[in-house]
């Protein structure tokens, strides 16, 4: 009775297209406007740029944008290395073993995600200060590593669950100890999973604002979100540069997202919900 005719399907697509465009309007507008000079933007207020210009982007070279970008990359890479390393080991333990300790660990990992991060930020600020870690990327790297740990551990664990245990058992019989079996057999097979996990870790760190804002306060130390926000406050009328900066900042996010978007499908998100 309800056969989806080609007409129906194409009308659905058309509808979805409108919805998607409408929902993404803020982003689309921002990107388009980044190609208009501020005067043009304020003047014409048109959706499509009247006069296409790269002025804003050129102008960014006069700002500390590149410094911010560098800081963002350093911090994100550092956080990724730390958190993925810890999470891969932890995820493997959760995947292969069961006991009270692991159950407790799994539950606390899930619970920690619920805590307001400011609970730890205030004391950490006071701890880091005398250590000279304020305005030091290390402070943010460590905090990001822990904030991302639950999700990254869960991702790693889900991935290891897909590797059959018989392989490690065969390795144990062939002469490996349990950790050797992990290093020689499981890890080499985990390339794709670890890559995806790392990209997620990097993405979350790169996008993050709050923690970076607390610990990185000088221009030299700031990451992109913090720096651009300062710019937004100080030069609230320089829309052009703001749009360009925001658009550029968004690019790595989009590129990385393209690589992992298939992992965000079904199981990934819903499973995270179950902890």
């Amino acid at each position: 009775m309800n056969e989806t005719t080609p007409l129906k399907r194409w009308s659905l697509s058309a509808l979805m297209l409108v919805i998607v465009a409408f929902l993404n309007m803020p982003i689309i507008l921002m990107v388009l406007n980044s190609f208009q000079t501020t005067e043009q933007m304020l003047l014409s207020r048109s959706v499509i740029p009247a006069v296409f210009s790269l002025e804003n982007y050129r102008g960014l070279t006069q700002t500390p944008f590149f410094q911010y970008f560098q800081n963002s990359v350093i911090v994100s890479l550092g956080a990724t290395v730390v958190s993925v390393s810890a999470a891969v080991l932890g995820g493997y333990a959760l995947s292969r073993y069961r006991n009270g300790l692991l159950q407790g660990y799994s539950t606390s990992l899930f619970a920690v995600q619920m805590f307001p991060v400011i609970l730890a930020l205030i004391p950490l600020f006071l701890i880091f200060q005398p250590l000279g870690l304020i305005n030091n990327p290390l402070s943010v790297i460590i905090v990001y590593a822990v904030v991302n740990l639950p999700f990254i551990t869960w991702m790693a664990r889900s991935y290891f669950d897909t590797i059959p245990r018989e392989l490690e058992e065969a390795a144990l019989i062939d002469g490996c100890g349990p950790i050797e079996a992990f290093l020689r057999i499981v890890l080499p097979l985990s390339g794709p999973g670890i890559a995806a996990t790392s990209i997620f870790a990097f993405l979350f760190s790169y996008n993050e604002f709050f923690v970076a804002n607390v610990f990185l306060r000088t221009t030299n130390a700031m990451t992109l979100p913090v720096g651009i926000r300062m710019f937004m406050d100080q030069f609230s009328t320089d829309w052009g540069s703001l749009m360009a900066a925001a658009t550029l900042m968004m690019l790595p996010t989009l590129v990385l997202f393209m690589f992992v978007q298939k992992f965000i499908a079904h199981g990934a998100v819903a499973g995270g919900v179950k902890g």
Binding site: T4, M16, P26, L89, A93, R98, I118, F209
Partner: protein
């Protein structure tokens, strides 16, 4: 005998899971993670709890002042205002995301050309950095000629200054939060919808149920559980959100969009009162635990 009662398949799986009673290897594997958690969460939290009973600043440690901070906090109008705002924010965010997410998920269930592409594009508001979202939205509401006000003008209204009008700022920040959060809800609900056994719908169709009846009697019961869990997650994430209100108006105008986290932040970094900031954080944690407890109870009853 016990074995005969246990279905062979599950028994074997359970057996495999309990196969390695080793404690040493997992303990070694967990050490880096546990160390990180101790260093960055556990220890600071204990310290923070201590600070909440002192009157220190960011520069120097203070003296113990007992529960003064908590009393001050729980008797301040600022606290109740931010509590109210946090709850209102969370409520509308969850409801808005749910409705939008469910609607889109229902649409995305249908087969159509380009569906996979649409699904990816719909995730953009979630994946884009918070700062970029705010910059984009700001432009749309910045002044009297902004896009939103152009639309308002078409309907004959006068310009709204979103960022400087309390009620409109609250409305805007909620809308932005819904915009940033709905993709997650949509994805999760889509997964839940797709896991519903098709034959249930076919049985309903044979019983000549209308689409609406089918929805109420087949779809809704099946996604009830996951909906509650999602609601819980969204609530927690909403209460914990610093970025959206702060980046938009710094909790303004006149603290209209100040939630509990922004309040704690202001106490600490603007008023230099670490004790109050810590106290606010712990009270927020307490409120969250209460919320989670009730929502979990609701889930268990289902």
């Amino acid at each position: 005998m016990a074995l005969d009662q246990v279905e062979a398949g599950t028994w074997r799986t359970r057996a495999r899971q309990m196969a390695t009673p080793e404690f040493v290897t997992p303990a070694i594997l967990l050490t880096p993670s546990i160390l990180l958690l101790m260093l960055v969460i556990a220890y600071p939290m204990v310290q923070g709890f201590y600070f909440s009973f002192t009157n220190g600043s960011l520069m120097k440690a203070g003296r113990l002042v007992g529960i003064d901070n908590y009393v001050k906090l729980l008797t301040s109008p600022a606290f109740y205002h931010s509590l109210q705002f946090s709850l209102v924010f969370a409520f509308f965010n969850v409801v808005g995301c749910y409705l939008l997410g469910l609607g889109l998920a229902l649409l995305m269930q249908k087969d159509m050309p380009g569906r996979a592409v649409f699904r990816v594009l719909l995730l953009l508001p979630w994946i884009v950095p918070s700062l970029v979202s705010i910059v984009a939205w700001r432009w749309m509401v910045a002044d009297d000629k902004a896009l939103f006000n152009q639309i308002v003008a078409v309907f004959g209204g006068s310009p709204i200054y979103f960022l400087s009008d309390s009620s409109w700022a609250i409305t805007l920040v909620i809308i932005i939060k819904i915009w940033r959060s709905f993709p997650f809800m949509m994805l999760s609900l889509l997964a839940a919808l797709q896991s519903i056994d098709r034959s249930l719908y076919e049985a309903a169709a044979i019983d000549s149920a209308t689409k609406w009846q089918s929805f109420c009697n087949v779809t809704v019961p099946q996604i009830k559980n996951i909906s509650i869990v999602l609601g819980l997650l969204m609530t927690v994430w909403s209460v914990n959100d610093f970025d959206t209100p702060w980046l938009l108006t710094q909790g303004g105008p006149a603290n209209a969009t100040e939630n509990l986290i922004v309040l704690a932040y202001r106490y600490t970094f603007a008023r230099n009162d670490v004790g109050m900031g810590a106290a606010t954080s712990f009270v927020t944690l307490f409120i969250l635990m209460v919320l989670v407890f009730f929502l979990l109870r609701l889930q268990r009853r289902n």
